[in-house]
């Protein structure tokens, strides 16, 4: 067998002016691989995250008008009680500890994604090197500031955490990849292809988050018969899943499935979209002109490949088209900022062509959990890794994209 090429460590690239340190320093990068791995959910890790949670909540509350609900969600995720609850899932008597250094390359489409990736790495007892997205977000800046405050109070974690930023550089990626024991790649197919050109050490492990899409399944009769306040909650949740991040996240639904007869669907869809439109107006959702054109482009791309009917709407805020069948090619024609392809089904199995490998999340309204569990377990579909009620599409979980992050970012010691 040909021996694997050993990655070459070129620490010189740490002096590259393109490389900026947002937390930590270049000296720390050299020392990162030597940091001992801790046990998963170790008490000192929980102390650290408890402090982080408290300081972050304080920072979030300091922002006028709860500007960043995602900060509160992150703080909640890191509460000690919440983490202890999570830890119980792994209390199976096995010894689990970190793999060593985790190198995270994080995406720009979901501003706090880097924080969740990092926290998963921290919980597993790893040292972490995070490449932040090129675009700054205000919420992200607050998280970094809060992390820095935590490190001042708990300096023992200082040596285990470095946050950097760099525009594409094969040399920098090569060094970080050569140093790590686990590489976590976010940001879609193209980023994965580029970053994978950098070799990993032989024992290293990789976790990649490819381009995915999401579906939303609605029980038409339930939408039609919902009370005004239930409808309001529903569209509010749907707004959070979609428009709040301009449908940029993989888990933001772009394909809608209405379960019911044609008449039920018409009634339910009419009510739902009207209520959503009113909410968009109320929230002053702004659609840039270029995005209005981009939505039409995607819509026609879809129409050119399969039978679609563009439904007239009051304006360009919501763009809808009904598909005659669940043609898989349509899932590659999804847009952003409010473009929805809809399908009416009499039988849930009619949506299966949209549940391919690329399908990550299914959100639902008006179904019992057990009905969906039954449907999912009785069909061998390649996709659908995650099923959540409408309103929770963007909620982060330690099980993500079909991976249990705690298991992926740690190793198991077996003793017999």
């Amino acid at each position: 067998m040909i021996p694997m090429p050993q990655p070459h460590l070129d620490f010189g690239v740490l002096d590259d002016p393109k490389l900026r340190f947002c937390l930590g320093s270049k000296e720390q990068v050299r020392a990162l691989p030597e940091q001992p791995a801790l046990a998963i959910f170790s008490p000192q890790t929980l102390d650290f995250l408890e402090l982080f949670s408290a300081l972050l909540l304080e920072a979030a509350k300091g922002e006028p008008g709860r500007r960043f609900p995602e900060l509160s969600a992150l703080a909640f995720f890191c509460r000690r009680r919440e983490l202890e609850r999570q830890a119980r899932r792994y209390a199976d008597g096995l010894i689990r500890r970190g793999r060593g250094l985790v190198f995270h390359s994080t995406p720009a489409n979901v501003p706090l994604n880097f924080a969740f990736s990092l926290i998963a790495g921290v919980l597993c007892g790893n040292a972490n090197l995070v490449r932040l997205p090129a675009v700054d977000s205000e919420a992200g800046q607050l998280v970094i500031k809060t992390l820095s405050r935590c490190l001042e109070r708990m300096p023992q974690f200082k040596e285990r955490l470095v946050l950097v930023k760099y525009e594409s550089s094969a040399q920098i990626t090569a060094l970080f990849s050569a140093l790590c024991q686990c590489r976590v790649l976010w940001g879609g197919d193209e980023t994965i292809a580029t970053m994978r050109q950098a070799p990993l050490p032989p024992r290293a492990h990789e976790l990649s988050f490819a381009d995915r899409h999401a579906l939303c399944l609605m029980q038409a009769t339930q939408v039609a018969s919902a009370s005004e306040s239930e409808l309001r909650t529903l569209v509010q949740g749907f707004f959070n899943d979609t428009y709040r991040l301009d449908q940029n996240a993989c888990s933001s639904p772009k394909l809608m499935i209405w379960y019911g007869t044609a008449a039920q669907h018409e009634q339910a869809a009419g009510r739902f979209w009207a209520a959503l439109h009113a909410l968009l107006k109320e929230k002053n959702y702004e659609l840039p002109a270029a995005q209005a054109v981009a939505k039409l482009t995607r819509l026609y791309e879809g129409a050119a490949c399969c039978e679609l009917k563009h439904i007239a709407t009051e304006d360009n805020l919501i763009v809808r088209a009904e598909a005659a069948r669940a043609v898989p090619a349509l899932t590659d024609c999804c847009g952003r900022c409010g473009l929805f392809y809809e399908l009416r089904v009499d039988d849930l199995s009619q949506m299966l062509p949209w549940c391919g490998l690329k399908c990550q999340t299914l959100t639902y309204f008006g179904f019992e959990r057990s009905e969906l569990e039954h449907f999912l377990s009785s069909h061998a579909m390649p996709g659908v890794d995650r099923v959540v009620p409408v309103g929770h599409a963007l909620d982060f979980d330690l099980v993500w994209d079909g991976y249990d992050l705690i298991c992926e970012l740690s190793r198991v010691v077996s003793v017999r």
Binding site: P288, A289, V293, T297, Y300, A303, A304, C306, E307, K309
Partner: protein
């Protein structure tokens, strides 16, 4: 992959063959293509144009299955089209994502690509002989209205290598080739390193002393490689009788805070040219150009039409209102690019009443839609330059 007909499709309209449809297009478009340019008033033009556009839409719906399905998604039947503005407009970016062609592959003559940096997708525009010839003829008719019918000595403000790669025909090449039609003798002002060849230019001009000379180039290249280069060299060119035609967009010049006035003043100072015409056009509808008259208005030729659309609902904007520019042209026969939504912002200024005397609509371009992907013709070089 590129099929001319697809009669097995259930939604295939009952239609006579393509030849008959094409003849109908030729017949209905002729009055608009062959009249002296800018001579039809709005009322007169509207009925003729709609009829010809309807026939053209029918041709494309019959010949291009993707286009047929797009019309179908909008519930539009070309036969019942009563107003030009009811026809669905295809966003220009669609030509980057789909191969839209209305002729059999065997009849393809050349493929035009829009500019774009390597990481971007480029539009692909499929031309048969007829569409390519129509484009040339239409360009000549339009531009002659501004520079006169005689062929003039032509100074091209570009480098010779722009004509080398003709296989993958890029927009810059198309522009230079298109305007070469007006040249009697042609001289490239730049070498392949984009250096101004001042001696060669001066010797070219000395052969045409006292004559009218036509200059053509992309806006930012005229500025950067002619005006600024002459400034650096401390030289001027004796072009008092020159006419400059330039186009391709202002994006990179605006970034350097050079506006129309500064541009014209710079050109005048360094070359003595006072006759300067900007033009607006795009690879997706090449041959159709909107040239600026002496009053600074871009004019719509008889065989084309423009609409300004409100980005909120794509409804029509009124005169003087800023919106997204939609362009219609009777030239594209080999690809369904006869009605396009651009990524540019513009304003309709008026119709039939420009002081220059040309009939038809006139407008101005305000620039790219904010947040729009870089797509302008001549901005290619600017985007990739170090």
């Amino acid at each position: 992959m590129l099929k001319s007909t697809d009669s097995a499709e259930p939604d295939s309209p009952v239609c006579p063959e393509r030849g008959a449809l094409l003849d109908e297009v030729r017949r209905l478009a002729a009055p608009l293509l062959e009249a002296p340019p800018f001579t039809l008033n709005g009322q007169h033009k509207s009925a003729l144009f709609t009829k010809a556009l309807r026939a053209l839409s029918r041709l494309h719906a019959y010949s291009c299955p993707q286009y047929r399905r797009i019309l179908h998604s909008e519930g539009v039947d070309p036969d019942t089209l009563s107003e030009t503005e009811q026809l669905p407009f295809l966003p220009t970016a669609l030509f980057k994502r789909l191969k839209l062609c209305s002729v059999p592959e065997a009849e393809l003559f050349k493929t035009l690509t829009s500019s774009g940096t390597t990481s971007q997708l480029r539009s692909q525009i499929f031309l048969d002989k007829e569409s390519a010839q129509l484009q040339q003829r239409a360009l000549i008719r339009t531009v002659s209205s501004f520079i006169g019918p005689a062929r003039l000595p032509l100074l091209i403000l570009d480098c010779p290598s722009v004509l080398k790669n003709r296989e993958n025909f890029a927009a810059r090449t198309a522009g230079v080739l298109g305007f070469s039609l007006f040249g009697r003798e042609r001289c490239f002002a730049l070498n392949d390193d984009m250096q101004l060849q001042a001696e060669a230019v001066e010797s070219f001009l000395s052969r045409h002393l006292g004559e009218r000379v036509l200059l053509f180039g992309f806006t930012y290249m005229v500025w950067q490689y002619l005006v600024e280069a002459l400034r650096r060299l401390g030289r001027t060119l004796p072009l008092e009788r020159g006419i400059l035609i330039h186009g391709g967009g202002w994006k990179s010049l605006r970034a350097h805070a050079v506006d129309e006035q500064a541009f014209k003043a710079g050109v005048l100072e360094r070359t003595g040219i006072s006759e300067v015409h900007d033009y607006y056009g795009m690879a997706e509808q090449s041959g159709t150009v909107y040239v600026e008259c002496e009053h600074g208005h871009l004019h719509v030729p008889d065989f084309a039409q423009i609409f300004i659309r409100d980005p909120h609902d794509f409804g029509l904007c009124g005169r003087g209102e800023r919106g997204i520019v939609e362009v219609c042209s009777l030239l594209p026969r080999s690809y369904p690019g006869h009605c396009l939504l651009t990524e540019d912002e513009g304003v309709l200024l008026g119709e039939d009443d420009c002081p220059c005397g040309r009939l038809g609509r006139y407008f101005k371009i305000c620039g790219r839609l904010p947040q729009s992907e870089l797509r302008g013709c001549s901005d290619t070089y600017a985007a990739t330059a170090p």
